[in-house]
């Protein structure tokens, strides 16, 4: 009996975010006739995909006990680089690869600062956030980069595949892959071990520094992808794109039940967390709530989620 009760409460704990999402959805279905339409649902998913990609990376980072504030800046710089390349006549495929690679390099720099230079993740990525954002301003000279007309590139952010937006497909594929990595591979296991007890992990033979660099690199790559999707959808790249996205990503991770102190959490929760934020944004828009109040509501939802989560953990 004791075991059943315990596993039940553990299951409830994991299901908590999902239940929250369902409640919000039900309220919106009742409140707005325009909510439950195929168009709107696809729209939500497409809006969510950018935040979700970043939040997937953030999940890895937070699971190791770290944080990455530079994701929004990486998004902007990678997007700008990709756009700039194409503007200079580079073919879209190569430009995208360069953009993703640049994101990986930026992430690796974060990782090396944290592991080799031993700077706390918060400080290291606060600094690189400013640097990357600054570099994006330098590169774009503060003006939007536009005028790259490539049908293939426009597909990335705006295309459909069997009626489903391409960014959503990208997000779902990456979600599947990363879910597998966290659940079934030594890499994923090491991420949890490092967040759970870094010294014990190191003394068990895990090359903790190397894995942390991998994790920040992964986050850089995912942020760059998000940047490319955004650039493609807007058909322009701006240095101030993705401002504040790091906070949305952290919010999604936390809403999904991942512990900010590391070692505990899962990526399914993050996807649900990102959906909660996306559905809220969308629903509040449909209801005509001013964007100022939307902020207030989002903040309250985060607080509520964390409070409920703590109540469950302690009981």
């Amino acid at each position: 009996m004791a075991i059943n009760k315990k596993s039940l409460s553990a299951a409830l704990q994991k299901l908590g975010p999902l239940i929250g999402l369902c409640i919000i959805i039900i309220i919106l279905i009742i409140a707005s006739p325009n909510f439950l339409t195929l168009n709107n649902i696809l729209n939500i998913f497409r809006q969510v995909s950018i935040n979700a990609l970043i939040a997937f990376g953030m999940t890895f980072v937070i699971l190791t006990g770290g944080i990455d504030l530079s994701v929004g800046a990486i998004l902007a710089l990678s997007g700008a680089l990709t756009a700039g390349m194409m503007g200079a006549g580079v073919d879209p495929m190569t430009a995208v690869l360069i953009g993703v690679l640049a994101g990986g390099v930026m992430g690796a720099i974060n990782g090396l600062l944290i592991t080799k230079a031993r700077i706390a993740p918060f400080i290291a990525t606060l600094a690189t956030m400013t640097i990357f954002r600054g570099l994006a301003l330098v590169y774009t000279d503060g003006r939007p980069i536009t005028g790259f007309n490539s049908e293939a590139f426009t597909m990335i952010g705006g295309g459909y595949f069997f009626g489903v937006p391409v960014p959503v497909i990208l997000m779902l594929i990456l979600f599947g892959g990363l879910f597998f990595v966290l659940r079934k591979t030594t890499f994923g296991r090491n991420v949890y071990a490092i967040g759970g007890n870094e010294e014990a992990a190191r003394l068990s033979g895990i090359k903790t520094g190397r894995f942390k660099v991998y994790v920040y690199t992964l986050t850089g790559v995912l942020s760059a992808l998000a940047g490319i999707i955004l650039t493609s959808r807007l058909n322009s790249a701006q240095a101030n794109a993705g401002m504040g996205y790091e906070l949305d990503a952290i919010a999604a991770v936390v809403l999904g039940g991942t512990s900010l102190s590391g070692g505990r959490g899962w990526i399914v929760g993050t996807l649900i967390g990102a959906l909660i934020i996306g559905v809220l944004n969308n629903g509040l828009n449909l209801l005509g709530v001013s964007s100022f109040y939307q902020q207030v509501v989002k903040g309250l939802v985060i607080l509520l989620a964390v409070l409920l989560d703590r109540k469950k953990t302690s009981s």
Partner: protein, 501 residues
């Protein structure tokens, strides 16, 4: 007033697990009263109920004849009941004096301005009673665990406690510190203080305690007068079965030299460390707290960086840069601090057991569920790990079972050299013996074993040879015939004193 503390009919359940069933305990003034039982027997829970950490489901608690149910440990302290936890409540960044007066700082009236000189003076005075000389302005993190514990004991003394509960106080102390502690305990006893003493060390209990109460599986089995009972009787009560010899017999089959260390140093405390271990040999490493035993092992394992020196395994020079390369060279290391350095407490038994065995269960980095389950089931059986199932979190296991996991995780494949740092600290009698048997079995399979231990009887009982460390150097190497308490203590104290009295 006959009893300082009278607890009777105490029951306590956590969710559906009953931890205490109708337990009882009586403490007289002026006695040292041992509370014994295997890990999980309910000793700590009983004391936490007494000090108001937990509320009992049933039962009566009387303190100095008055029925009491403390709301929290602070209230218990106000009524003269103080507890010194095994996990010290020391804040590393604060100074000795700041820790001593944590939460009750002396101030000028109600101004909030600290009377630092007065607190420093009192700190010196309290520690002086313990024969401990510490700088009140030294940060606590610069002290050894033993010294930090002295702050806690000093703190209880300063609160004029009439009942002091000590949960495994000597686990991390050197012999000299233990002597000092016993002297103080004796002095407190004569002053009429009642001391509850929780420990797994039989020698100490029979040396210092007046009476012994035994708990098993949450039930009270009785109180014995130390002078009228025997170790065997108490052990039988605790485990409920005959356990036989404390140190299982073993045939040493000693082979060729497995490990040789030459001129190892860390550029700080360790100088010119040299020793060797043969295949199938158990080498005990003795020395006082802070002599550098753990530091040597950490260098060997690549956990810290060495400044100079060479390490040879089976005659081949090996380059150990980090724990990963040490493991590759066939070295396994059970750390002294299993909670912070050995285990992933929030993770499951299965995950803890597989962490150092990925090459067997995860080809190409993808973990095979079947192989992982099989490995953990096999280890749970082999090491008699008492867990509900392989998914239980390690945090919720008893100390002995945690330690079996900390050891067992290295045995997915046979290491060539196995370093165990304080392998039985905080572990009950039954589990201790199982750990010794595990070591014996490994040595019979040709593993070279290095055991660091502060428990002298254990060093005597288990080792083929003993290396004694004193102030960062190897002070002596004692062959089987030369090993005895006196020879070890003589070397451990720098050859200045003749053992301990």
């Amino acid at each position: 007033m006959e009893y300082l503390v009278e607890m009777s009919g105490i029951s306590k359940s956590f969710s559906t697990v009953q931890v205490l069933k109708d337990a009882a305990f009586r403490l007289k003034p002026g006695e040292i009263h041992a509370l014994m039982g295997e890990n999980g027997a309910g000793k700590s829970t009983l004391m936490k109920i007494l000090t108001g950490v937990y509320k009992s489901d049933a039962g009566v608690i009387k303190v100095k004849g008055r029925e009491m149910a403390f709301a929290d440990p602070t209230e218990a302290e106000r009524y003269g009941v103080a507890i010194i936890h095994q996990e010290l409540n020391i804040i590393p960044k604060l100074t000795v004096a700041e820790n001593m007066f944590l939460g009750r700082q002396l101030t000028y009236g109600k101004t909030g301005i600290l009377r630092e000189k007065e607190m420093a003076r009192l700190t010196r005075e309290y520690l002086g009673r313990l024969n401990v000389d510490l700088d009140p302005s030294a940060p606590a993190e610069t002290l050894s665990i033993g010294q930090q514990q002295m702050i806690e004991i000093g703190k209880a003394l300063s609160k004029k406690a009439e009942v002091i509960i000590m949960d495994e106080p000597t686990a991390a102390l050197t012999d000299r510190e233990i002597e000092a502690l016993f002297r103080i305990m004796d002095q407190l006893r004569r002053e009429g203080v009642g001391i509850v003493y929780i420990s797994h060390r039989m020698e100490e209990i029979f040396a210092i305690c007046d009476r012994i109460s035994v708990l098993r599986d949450g039930a009270f089995l009785g109180t014995e007068t130390t002078a009228k009972t025997t170790v065997e009787h108490i052990v039988r009560l605790m485990v409920g079965r005959e356990i036989g010899e404390r140190y299982p017999a073993r045939k040493s089959v000693i082979g060729k030299e497995r490990l040789r260390v030459e001129g190892l140093s860390d550029g700080r405390n360790l100088k010119d460390i040299h020793f060797s271990v043969k295949a199938g040999e158990i080498v005990g490493v003795a020395g006082l707290m802070g002599a550098g035993r753990t530091e040597i092992m950490r260098l060997l394992f690549g956990a810290d960086r060495k400044k100079s020196g060479d390490i040879y395994i089976d005659g081949q020079k090996v380059d150990i840069k980090n724990p990963a390369s040490a493991i590759k060279a066939g070295i396994a290391f059970v750390t002294e601090d299993r909670k912070h350095q050995g285990l992933l407490l929030d993770m499951s038994v299965r995950e803890n057991l597989s962490i150092s065995n990925y090459d067997q269960i995860a080809p190409f980095g993808i973990i095979s569920n079947g192989k992982e389950q099989a490995l953990s089931q096999q280890m749970i059986k082999r090491f008699l790990i008492k867990a509900r199932d392989s998914e239980q979190t390690v945090k919720s296991l008893s100390g002995g079972n945690q330690q079996k996991i900390a050891i067992g995780k290295w045995l997915g494949k046979l290491p060539r050299i196995f370093i165990l740092d304080e392998p039985t600290r905080g572990v009950d009698v039954g589990a201790k013996k199982e750990i010794y048997s595990m070591m014996n079995e490994l040595s019979e399979q040709g593993v070279a074993i290095i055991m660091v231990s502060s428990d002298l009887p254990e060093v005597l009982g288990v080792s083929d040879r003993v290396v004694v460390v004193h102030e960062g150097r190897i002070a002596a190497e004692l062959s089987k015939e030369q090993i005895n308490q006196e020879s070890i203590m003589y070397a451990a104290t720098g050859g200045k004193g003749h053992g301990h009295q």
